[in-house]
């Protein structure tokens, strides 16, 4: 039985645990890491675990990373635009699932004009995930810094949309309007510059889907809720025979619905609109807005599964391809 350590600020190491448990430091490593192929008797294992617990042992992550060549860090590079759905719920779910597998998730918003070194230089993550492909200098920098994997992979094509489901929503919106009998559609968004990449991506996805359904590509209408551009737009759409509106999000849908109401139109008889995100305003609005609901938890778990498949070669569950989005039909379609 070791005497209690004097209150020194020295951090407790695996050697301390080994001494406390009366085993070698290698054995400590084996039980703490659950190393496969090692058969440790239950009594030894228990002694080690208890010693570690008693001493408050935390493995030194730098030492572990240096020795193993893996940092057990996953870096998620977020886009430079406001994320629409409950991002935090999503990230919590991802963190939790990765944590159970011994990985940590670090998120990071990178601007094109950011002058600081990118975070992967100091973290050496095992995997860097972006929402859009990285450019060559970034990829080169990652490789030089020991990043083992990059997604989207610069070399091989990957199933897109694993992380943030950019195109699945618009596709559902189009499908839903199509199903309800609408053949002449348009895509609407606010004018704000910051969301423009995402607006373009979603518009593109909706347009592609419309063509897949045998419809014409969608026009892109930019409105501003602070002036009468929504009223203008609705009037023009009616004149042009457009009856279905794919809105970038619920706020846009609300602006359009309110213009339609002001114009004395019936929804969905005269014009139908579907939002995106199922935000609070969608239920509160009169008429209540049809929208796309995102199952953030399922999406998060799916993303974690994907990550673990990449870094730990775990099997990729089939459920990854299951829809995490659903159409919520209310009064505007």
């Amino acid at each position: 039985m070791a005497v209690p350590e004097p209150t020194t600020s020295r951090r407790v190491t695996a050697l301390d645990v080994a001494r406390e448990a009366g085993v070698s430091r290698a054995t400590v490593g084996f039980v703490l890491n659950n190393t496969p192929g090692q058969t440790i008797p239950e009594s030894t294992r228990k002694r080690v675990l208890q010693a570690a617990e008693r001493l408050g042992y935390r493995p030194n992550s730098a030492a572990r990373a240096l020795a193993s060549g893996r940092s057990r860090i996953i870096l998620l590079v977020l886009p430079d635009w406001p994320v629409e759905f409950r991002m935090q719920d999503y990230l919590d779910e991802v963190s939790l699932a990765l944590d159970k597998a011994g990985y940590s998730l670090v998120t990071y918003t990178r601007h094109p004009d950011q002058a600081a070194r990118p975070l992967w230089e100091s973290l050496s993550p095992d995997l860097v995930v972006g929402t859009i492909p990285f450019n060559s200098p970034d990829v080169a920098s990652m490789l030089a810094c020991g990043v083992r994997q990059i997604y989207p992979d610069p070399d091989r094509p990957d199933p897109p949309d694993v992380s943030l489901a950019i195109s699945a929503g618009p596709e559902l919106q189009v499908d839903h309007l199509h199903e309800r009998g609408h053949r002449n559609l348009i895509f609407a968004a606010f004018v704000e510059a910051r969301t423009s990449s995402m607006v373009l991506a979603r518009h593109q996805a909706a347009s592609d889907r419309a063509r897949f359904q045998g419809l014409a590509a969608l026009g892109l209408e930019r409105i501003n809720y602070r002036d009468d551009s929504p009223d203008d737009a609705v009037r023009r759409w009616i004149d042009a025979g457009i009856t279905g509106v794919v809105a970038f999000n619920d706020d846009v849908a609300a602006a359009i619905a309110s213009a339609a109401v002001r114009a004395g139109l019936r929804m969905p008889a005269d014009i139908a609109v579907i939002g995106h995100d199922d935000s609070p305003i969608a239920t509160m609005f009169v008429p209540a807005l049809s929208t796309i609901r995102i199952d953030t938890a399922a999406l998060g778990r799916g993303f974690a599964d994907f990550v673990l498949h990449r870094v730990d070669r775990r099997p990729l569950p089939a459920s990854l391809t299951l829809p995490n989005l659903t159409v919520v039909r209310r009064e505007t379609t």
Copy 2:
């Protein structure tokens, strides 16, 4: 002159650079780290730098952290509420300033009910900064993980508000209304639950400031822009002789201003309102909203100075205490 490396996936190390430059690995470390007390001739320094550049050398951060005992990572734990001002600008500025000093900033939003291990366990940051004090289990966990410094410091009292300037804004709002002759004030916010901690903090700050100015503490009014609660509130305020409204942010100020306009009140003659953040809506609204502008860049540099003072013992610039917030007077005060 070394022959070009064969395309091996092995990462280039300081030893490679040393060989390429024809010096010892210690020398490489000295020039790359600008180690003080070492006098390296310019020719050697240049040779090393060029070799490092040519080889694309990136120091292994894990090895560096292990050897030096410092990770050169600063972890900023963000609050579980939407941050009001242009947070991203602020963080970019902080990152840049820290980067110049060789540190990396990692941010992290932590929920009370988050089950994953906190990020400091895997990053071992040199400094963890929170916007509110950490609880004892968190502090204990940080210490066990080799975190060297924590802010707010559990042991010694610190100047508050270095990181996010929670109270400075409300104080300016109150001072401004007071200056404009208002003596009977109220604090208004939306009902949303998620922002509640911040609402309470800001309300408290405004209230304290009012008392400092010899006024009564401020009541806290919760409104909902989706119903007629703003109209209700304005009516009650007028009846109660309240003439100055400290709004949580510009959105709240807009909701109030619009209720005041609907009620036929003159602004600021009958009622004055001041927002917070100088968001786009503040200029676009009619009447244009008085508000608080936050100099995010200055705030960010100030925070970086503070961090470097803590981790590198750099002198703390006096400018830290200079105001990074200014009153923007428009038409509502």
